[in-house]
Symmetry: C2
Subunit: 464 residues, 2 copies
């Protein structure tokens, strides 16, 4: 789009947002169900466009320009398509996040204040190349009464166009849903334009790489919700149950290593380094995990007789290989401080021995990304201290860091995970797409009557 | 401070914030009471420094460099000093904003999720030249468990240093309160430095002029809470009660014209322009309000026989005079579109006639600053539509816009007023200085057990 067209889209979205804020839950839900029906009915049309994206991606793979996994993520056919339709229906069935009175206060007789949940307004979401993200994001925004500007990955452009066309037509077939409730942006230049429009756009949600989120934050005055890194920790305390520690550490690292809530660094208490750590190391190696160990963790393994492969220095092939396959031969590597700051998103685990919970907390707060951190211990006081003093969005006792997710947390749907310290923190559900307004209902009151010597007094009583 | 000293201060604040987050409410309240006692006990010391600021300001006034009112704002003596001490005590008595469980969910047997209120972390507050703002802001941050970096007006530097010294010593005399909980920054260069520290500072709250807040927003990646403009409206609908309309409009414009929640534009319904508007105009003129009227509002006055002074064109002296005294001779001026976008903060009122509530809503959403807007009407359906469709932090029916304030809203204390659409909107109380963390308490659960064909099911039951 031209610069003017982007501004025009944002203006239309702003106008649409004022209409959306006034729609009933019933209207919004009817639109969501119409969207589900339309996507199901126009499956062939959507998949034909999706196939063109996949074919184009295959050519790029053949030319060595993109990875095989990039094409896989584009695929919409089969059960993934059913999940899209099902997802739209399930958003319709979620409780309405809009219109509840969050608090009510009598300021004086006949002067009552209500704090009422309402949409944020206009939200721009910039997302990765999975085209199934588009219906998910569009439906969450519509459910919460927000207008949305969407920009997906360029590899999925045909799929996204088809989905956006079908969703927009279906939603607008429902009386009351305004044009401009959803707009698909198509180019990187479009993103640069919208980032300037802080008078028209209320929130930007970028989903993608660390560098990409940083770029967004560096280039806009619009508030941004998202997370850059997921440098999560599991701390095995001296009083940990060994079975729990092994199961939790292995799950946190290996159950799905490429996601943000996977553990990147294992902190081993000095009191567990001889007892529990060698068994964890053995299990990790079975899963093909490369262990980047500090001196004490290494020495414990060498003394344990657990059968340790040769230690490599950083910079040798272990560091260079990148992604590891599940059963590649695992290695021990000497850790450097850089490992504590690195989100591997892979079968690579930093391992550091700490003297006590204080040192563990200090490590997490210093090197972590305030995302999700877990302690394994049977000692309640130590657990409480860790939960209180670790400054992260999710702090966990005796469970895997992988639980930190909107679906598992019961939020119904996940907009993303936030490591911001304002508005929304941790997994963000529909509520993260809402704010409130104050509604004051009076009967002629003026402030002059509440000032001076004969001033009326405020009652400030809660109304139930 | 040097650049390094500022970074060092922010680091100390970050470290302090981790300690503050773990302090009990009792400790924080004891520190607040110690602060109140110390300020009361060291009154002479503080007022001696305050007098130096005032003397310096008087010289600047004599040289014509600052306005007389600027010196007035610096004064701490008398009842203002008592109010500072009282304010500290009253913050101690407010309910604790930290530690409450906001929501609790059983994810599965023995796996419970708690959403718990906690401090944001490190907050930078940049405030106007009133030195009494310093104890207020420092106490609200301590109450909410946040570390604070403070920068006040340079004219109040000696007063601020004395207050900061007394407050810091008193708070740290209480066991547990860490050094670095409060830091006073002194120069504009210090502000420029802290705006870069998005890894150490979680929130910036600027209080001051539109241009200043805009400068802050343009120069930082740290989230900013605040408001730029207060372009508030009062809409007198055709079905307004005339007495209420006159009282509310006059209060909203004149009760305290230089604050952000004063009304800047009066919207008069076409159905009220002949009936109610002339009487409002007469009352406004009695209060010395300059009326900047559109054509229809002017014609209604000319036809009403209400005794209208001559109309001036924009750009003549009415526009140039700036601040008006209460009983200056008022004038009628032809309004331009620029008036609808202007925060006069003075006895100047834009007046526009609109055909109906739709046009009123459109005007408010287009020209307003999403701060506070009021409708006067006896028609409930029209009121509901205005309250629903006006996109402002506070929407008011049959009361003055001047009510939009943390104290009047019963929030206990006001950090500021926000026109942001995320985190906090409208008057911001202590709650605006808090966020939440998720605490997950498990008994060995791993995510692998909740995936695949024989997966455990989540229960997602609310816990009371």
């Amino acid at each position: 789009m031209s610069e003017n067209a982007v501004v025009e889209s944002a203006r239309r979205a702003r106008d649409a947002s004022l209409v959306l804020a006034g729609l009933s839950a019933e209207t919004r839900n009817r639109a969501l169900l119409a969207m589900a029906d339309a996507v199901a009915a126009r499956r062939d049309e959507i998949l034909a466009e999706n196939k063109k994206d996949i074919d184009a991606a295959r050519e790029l793979i053949a030319q060595g320009k993109i990875a095989k996994s990039d094409a896989k993520r584009l695929e919409l056919a089969g059960s993934k398509f059913d999940a899209v339709v099902e997802g739209l229906r399930s958003v319709a069935s979620l409780p309405d996040p809009i219109g509840q009175t969050l608090r009510a206060t009598e300021l004086d007789a006949g002067l009552n204040l209500y704090r009422v949940a309402c949409p944020i307004g206009v939200i721009a979401v910039i997302f990765e190349s999975r085209p199934d993200a588009l219906p998910q994001i569009a439906s969450l925004c519509l459910k919460s009464g927000n207008a949305v500007l969407l920009k997906g990955g360029s590899e999925a452009i045909r799929s996204n166009r088809a989905l956006a066309r079908v969703l927009d037509e279906a939603a607008r077939s429902v009386q009351g849903v305004p044009a401009g409730w959803m707009t698909l942006l198509e180019t990187r230049e479009d993103i640069a334009e919208i980032l300037k429009l802080d008078d028209l756009i209320d929130l930007v949600i970028p989903r993608g790489s660390n560098a990409f989120v940083r770029y967004i934050m560096d280039n806009t005055n619009i508030p941004v919700t998202g997370h850059r890194d997921g440098i999560c920790h599991t701390y095995v305390h001296a009083a940990a149950d060994p079975d729990k520690a092994i199961r939790i550490a292995v799950d946190a690292k290996t159950q799905y290593p490429s996601v943000c809530n996977a553990t990147e660094t294992l902190l081993v208490d000095a009191g567990a380094v001889e007892t529990i750590w060698p068994a964890i190391a053995v299990e990790m190696r079975k899963k093909g995990v490369e262990l980047r160990v500090d001196k004490r963790a290494k020495e414990a393994l060498l003394g344990s007789g657990a059968g340790v492969p040769p230690v490599k220095k950083h910079g040798q092939d272990a560091h260079a290989t990148g992604r590891h396959e599940q059963d590649a031969h695992a290695t021990l590597v000497d850790a450097t401080e850089q490992d504590w700051r690195t989100e591997h998103l892979d079968l690579v685990l930093g391992v550091r021995v700490v003297d006590d919970v204080a040192e563990a907390i200090d490590h997490v707060n210093r090197y972590g990304s305030h995302h999700t951190d877990s302690i394994v211990t049977e000692d309640p006081a130590t657990a409480e201290r860790f939960l209180r003093e670790v400054d992260s969005a999710s702090v966990i006792h005796n469970a895997s860091t992988r639980f930190a997710d909107g679906f598992r947390y019961g939020l119904g749907a996940e907009v993303g995970i936030s490591t911001s310290k304002i508005h929304s923190r941790g997994p963000v559900g529909l509520e993260g797409l809402t704010i409130y307004k104050y509604i004051l209902r009076g009967s002629g009151q003026i402030v002059a009557d509440y000032t001076g010597p004969s001033a009326h007094k405020f009652t400030h009583r809660g109304i139930s």
